[in-house]
Subunit: 443 residues, 2 copies
């Protein structure tokens, strides 16, 4: 992702006629994230653009006569109940749509009455998974997480020798990806008992992982690898991603082929796709230390190293059922930032495609858990409670090492800086429900 | 998979009016595998049933008036250019279709002239991927492979402690699954150099893996785990699967999260889906040794342990470009058998669903590499050449430790026993082409 010029769509002084957009902490006129929704008045899901507390209907916009050539094509593609076709069109179409939607939502837009009729309230709308997920890949690009978890499991070598040379990743289960707000059954699995043999039982070490999600857009040209300097062309946008993890299942099953059922029971993403265009003001250099090796050529682009990072603040909060009953807000357990990622998103894309495979619109990446270097910035309970040894106390007095049934996990993300309009991701929520009925007569 | 009764469709004495079917080593009247094809005379892909050297057109059959209720529904679902909808209908529909197709293809079928008009020659037809792959999971159920590879990399503990308790598996990349015959680009990747640092270059240790593929059919009821005794209901059929592997990429990237780009550049399956019904005569007990632990309850079903294995002979053969130019047949490097799998396919299904995730029609499993215990039964070159130290000599005098550009890999599978009709899988072929063009200016 190279630094690109800001334009009128980033100007914080431009206001919208949508009253709730002005001063909105997440969704002002300068954000305009994409999603799929079913409005209160209709059962038909279609694409939309979030503005304040409203959603601009792309299906309605496409037939409104308000759009011209490229933006019109984009809106037509975005009229479907999944954004894969819009993602496939790539950056030029997405940028044109952003430009025209921005123009139409301005406080001084001559078309404002026509546009207002295409708005639906978020309240009462059903937000859907933004795209059909083709393949889902989870990376491990949060170096502080990798080091902290490595120290728990491999104290002799917390960071594997390959860590600073390539973005470690693994394939996840695409059909288990769902949208916030989610109900997540506590998974069952084989758990190692004190005698060394396993038992099949509900996980006792259920955890969240705070991640950045990346939606892939236009496919690369087949038959070529993707240069990192052009990798950003294949990114449609970003979301929050909770990579729910059963730590006890994970520790027993993962050798030698990596995580499997410990992760694949559920992955939850936030509904809004925050575009690379919206995040242009929030690019930042990578945090690297002098002893980090230079990336190999296929992962190294000067512009990407200088400005390919993202400066987005993250937080994870938890509420128990008792907290909610007593009127407590979710307790923020950690705050972190995408600045703590060791690899840029462009590097993730270039690495993923470096073996010659094809990326497709609707492929989804998770960044890996994003922890910071300091206490209070841990992206998982495993880290936050030091492997389950240091419980967190909730406002109700309840103690937590891992998630209990009824707990709700809330991830939030926002980029903000004085003099720049904020760009929020909204929330990624999920409630832990009890375990599934067992067909095997177990607990 | 419990033993079920044989019926007239298994009777080896029943002959077909399709001349090429009688005595066919793979596709006699008793096999009737499913696939998707584009006939020589039409550009439209649709489902078909292989019989001898012909394919019975399911789209034509669905409108022929020859089928009744359940089989007719199955043929309609099978008229699409992917078999997901047919798979979703499950065993009763698949069995009804098999019964009626068998009846219509008999030598004494009164409808034979009508049926004959629905046959297309395999020669000239294009065989397609049988279904849209939802999620692809690769297991590690070949215990002799696990032990042999473990001895190369982890001599102190060749079999991980979890091996005999759960079917180890990992998620693969669904969109990289293609159908035989395939052209497979040699992948690039990070390869560890003698100084311990990596370089980005074409893999020098490209390998095949001989696996059984499993196509998933009807989804389980949501909200329940799948008892192993009922797991077979969710299996649509079997194929050959070549899990192409770049060993040098794999050894550098795989810690701590398992194989990723070393596998995800290509996976190749054979085009015919051999049904569980066709394989009923070839069930066999699992090979277990007295010191293997009893499977946990959710993986244990007496009927499955007694007859849930499959008795299918496998072989892998390789030809170099020079061999083909000189008219040599592919050289058989190994022969093996699905008897050598440590877990039944029903156990793979039950384990996969045991965390509560949902399986979908068109999900694909690989069994893991199926090696036998003896020399000459290795399912990969890594094993066959003892980690690349003992080259194989081809008929042209060429030496092979790993695959060279131009090499073709041919997997074959067949179940056969005196007095029982043979059931063949056909072939899974792939040719290694040169590396992709590098966008990064490398070799």
């Amino acid at each position: 992702m190279t630094a690109e010029a800001l334009d009128v769509t980033h100007d914080p002084s431009v206001r919208s006629f949508v009253a709730s957009a002005d001063g909105h902490p997440d969704f002002p006129l300068q954000n305009l994230p994409l999603g799929v929704f079913r409005p209160p008045t209709s059962g038909v899901a279609r694409g939309g653009v979030r503005i304040g507390d409203e959603i601009l209907d792309l299906a309605g916009l496409a037939v409104s006569g308000l759009l011209s050539a490229t933006a019109l094509e984009a809106a037509h593609a975005g009229s479907a109940p999944a954004l894969n076709d819009l993602f496939a069109l790539g950056a030029a179409h997405r940028g044109a749509l952003r430009g025209e939607v921005h123009r139409l939502l301005r406080a001084d837009a001559p078309e404002r009455d026509t546009v207002a009729a295409l708005l639906h309230p978020v309240a009462g709308s059903q937000l859907m998974l933004p795209a059909r997920v083709g393949d889902y890949t989870d990376f491990y690009a949060g170096i502080h997480h990798a080091r902290a978890v490595g120290a728990l499991f491999r104290p002799h070598e917390p960071l594997p020798p390959n860590y600073r040379w390539l973005p470690i990743g693994y394939h996840g289960r695409a059909s288990s990806v769902g949208v916030s707000p989610a109900f997540v059954h506590r998974p069952r699995g084989q758990l190692r008992q004190p005698d060394g043999t396993p038992a099949y039982a509900p996980s006792q070490r259920l955890d969240y992982e705070l991640e950045l999600g990346v939606w892939i857009g236009a496919s690369p040209v087949p038959g070529q690898v993707v240069p990192v300097a052009r990798a950003a062309e294949h990114i449609s946008g970003f979301c929050l991603l909770n990579d729910w993890s059963a730590r006890d299942v994970q520790s027993w099953e993962s050798q030698p082929l990596g995580p499997f059922l410990a992760k694949s029971f559920a992955t939850t993403v936030s509904p809004w796709v925050v575009t690379p265009e919206a995040l242009r003001p929030y690019r930042t250099p990578l945090e690297r230390s002098p002893d980090d090796p230079e990336p190999l050529d296929h992962l190294r682009d000067p512009a990407d190293l200088a400005a390919g990072g993202l400066d987005v603040e993250l937080e994870v909060a938890v509420s128990s059922a008792a907290m909610r009953a007593a009127g407590h807000e979710p307790l923020v357990l950690s705050t972190s930032s995408t600045r703590h990622l060791f690899w840029t998103v462009a590097q993730l894309v270039a690495h993923h495609a470096s073996n010659g495979l094809q990326l497709w619109p609707g492929d989804l990446f998770g960044s890996g858990t994003i922890s910071g270097p300091a206490p209070g910035s841990e992206g998982s309970l495993l880290e936050r409670t030091r492997g389950g040894t240091a419980a967190v106390t909730l406002p109700t007095g309840e103690a937590r090492t891992f998630l209990e049934d009824g707990d709700e996990v809330v991830l939030r993300a926002r980029a903000a800086r004085p003099g720049v309009a904020p760009v929020g991701f909204g929330e990624c929520r999920g409630v832990v429900t009890g375990p599934l009925a067992s067909g095997a007569g177990g607990a």
